[in-house]
């Protein structure tokens, strides 16, 4: 009895799988995600701009006259001595991230460029896992309010792109130790 039942279900399963397979084969390919959806996290989200806050932006203001392609990183370019690189240790050239033909743009691995305002797209090329967390709001500081449009800071608001590791900081004052308490390890 039991055996027959299994056989029956198995036969139904085979028919079902075949039907699903056929449907999938004949279905049209799913539409590509829109470009807007790629650039911004889903929902009502506004991200902070960057270009307006870079001193001496646009970069092309100087770089249309001056150019220093492939400057070795340890020496650094003469005009940007303050830049300290502690990121992507294999990098030998600024042009991995910066577009040599238009210094106002950032270079993406797929060949296209993006603006400084959408620099998270560049970070997300390598840090896809963090990008995924940032998209759903699990990574990054939230500002503004919880209702309506969400204002999200981008990677470069908290991390220096040339030296992204966050420094340690001084902890604020601890609570008062209980009057009759015994410190850890003292008993």
């Amino acid at each position: 009895m039991q055996r027959r039942q299994i056989t029956t279900i198995g036969a139904r399963g085979v028919v079902f799988l075949a039907a699903v397979g056929l449907t999938n084969c004949t279905a049209p390919p799913t539409a590509n995600r829109s470009r807007a959806a790629d650039e911004l996290p889903a929902g009502r989200v506004a991200i902070s701009g960057r270009e307006g806050r870079i001193r001496q932006f646009p970069c092309e203001g100087c770089h249309d006259k001056v150019d220093a392609d492939d400057m070795p990183v340890p020496d650094g370019p003469a005009k940007h001595q303050s830049i300290e690189i502690a990121h992507f240790s294999g990098a030998r050239s600024c042009n991995i991230c910066h577009d040599p033909t238009n210094r106002d743009r950032l270079r993406l691995l797929k060949g296209s460029t993006t603006s400084f305002d959408a620099s998270h797209l560049q970070c997300g090329q390598c840090h896809g896992e963090k990008m995924r967390d940032w998209n759903i709001g699990a990574h990054g500081k939230h500002v503004g309010g919880w209702r309506g449009t969400k204002h999200r800071l981008t990677c470069v608001d908290c991390h220096n792109p040339h030296k992204p590791a966050r420094a340690t900081m001084q902890a604020e004052a601890p609570p008062a130790f209980p009057r009759f308490g015994i410190p850890k390890g003292a008993h």
Binding site: R44, D133, H142, M169, Q170, A171, A173, P175, K184
Partner: protein
């Protein structure tokens, strides 16, 4: 049984009080013959229900002479406060009068002009916190921002948030350290901020014998500081040690007082009542983030409406591996922790 009995007692007391003094309820407290102080003084030096009950216990035989007993034990009495109804039974007008009284008392006692309000819970919203333990570096900015926002007493200091320093790879809270100092984050340490979890099944609310604490529709567990009798049953019941007791009248300088006050949240508490984190409801019900989140320099804290599937917290709870503290107690907390 104890709890039920005590509720009845309070109710009866209130009924008697109302019958005995209807005139002061109509805002004529200054004219009360048993209260001989000037009107301003009578307003400022208030006598709480708790103090009254204490007096009443010592003169239990004379329970019928409620007015006389109160006057003998307290000297000056704010009758409006004394015969105040339970907060949930008040009308909008009565609440407005109470807010006005609280503002007046704050002015008299601390010299600060404050605005007291109580924003209603937003329909359909359920607040929740998500805290990333990979990102939190234990700098305690949240702790001190909370103290400033919520008018906690500075001496003895009351803090709603505790940051526990734990060994990496361990979540044994008993092995944690609350008193660490210096540069953070330390090597091989994890920092876990703890505050009221606003449980959906709150043991503190069940423990309260006088219904001075209850759960609001948006998930926040609130306390009516005028109704609390200071028995501290809720503190014993809370498995997260989230509640704090005002052993002394909170000490605050005038410049330290936050003027944006909520009746159920950050108004200055009297002595002898319990207080705790309330998700900054005077801010969050108006759409803002809580003060601890705004102060956090690392972005470890996420706050929002758990009922909105597009909100950050809902997505984190859905997509990340989150955990709550002491899940086995079935308290159903609203603070979710996660590593990323």
């Amino acid at each position: 049984m104890w709890r039920r009995k005590s509720k009845v007692t309070l109710h009866v007391l209130q009924q008697r009080g109302r019958e005995a003094t209807t005139a002061p309820l109509a805002g004529q407290a200054e004219a009360s013959p048993s209260c001989e102080a000037t009107s301003d003084h009578a307003r400022s030096a208030s006598c709480s229900r708790r103090g009254f009950l204490g007096t009443l216990a010592t003169t239990a035989a004379a329970t019928t002479a409620t007015t006389a007993a109160a006057a003998a034990g307290c000297g000056t009495i704010d009758w409006d406060q004394f015969f105040q109804k339970h907060y949930k039974e008040m009308t909008v007008e009565e609440k407005a009068l109470v807010f006005e009284r609280v503002a007046r008392q704050t002015k008299a006692n601390y010299g600060a002009d404050v605005r007291v309000s109580d924003p209603a819970p937003i329909e359909g919203v359920g607040f929740a916190f998500c805290i990333s333990l990979s990102v939190c570096n234990g700098n305690r900015a949240c702790v001190h921002a909370c103290v400033e926002e919520n008018n906690q007493g500075r001496d003895p200091a009351i803090q709603y948030i505790k940051v526990v320093e734990l060994d990496r790879g361990s979540l044994n809270l008993e092995g944690g350290d609350l008193y660490y100092e210096g540069e953070v984050p330390k090597k091989d340490k994890v920092y876990l901020p703890m505050q009221c979890n606003q449980c959906d099944n709150p043991p503190c609310v069940t423990a309260c014998p006088v219904e001075a604490t209850w759960k609001e529709p948006d998930g926040i567990v609130v306390i009516d500081y005028d109704w609390c009798i200071g028995c501290r049953y809720c503190m014993a019941a809370c498995p997260y040690e989230a509640r704090r007791f005002n052993y002394a009248t909170p000490k605050l300088e005038r410049f330290q007082i936050n003027g944006n006050q909520g009746y159920l949240s950050n108004r200055i508490r009297p002595r002898g009542v319990v207080e705790k984190c309330h998700f900054c409801l005077h801010r969050t019900r108006n759409g803002a983030y809580p003060a601890c989140l705004e102060a956090c320099p690392t972005g470890a804290r996420k706050f929002g409406d758990l009922n909105d599937p597009e909100s950050e917290v809902a997505q984190i709870v859905r997509k990340k591996r989150v955990f709550v503290l002491k899940e086995e107690l079935n308290t159903v907390p609203r603070i979710y922790y996660f590593f990323d």
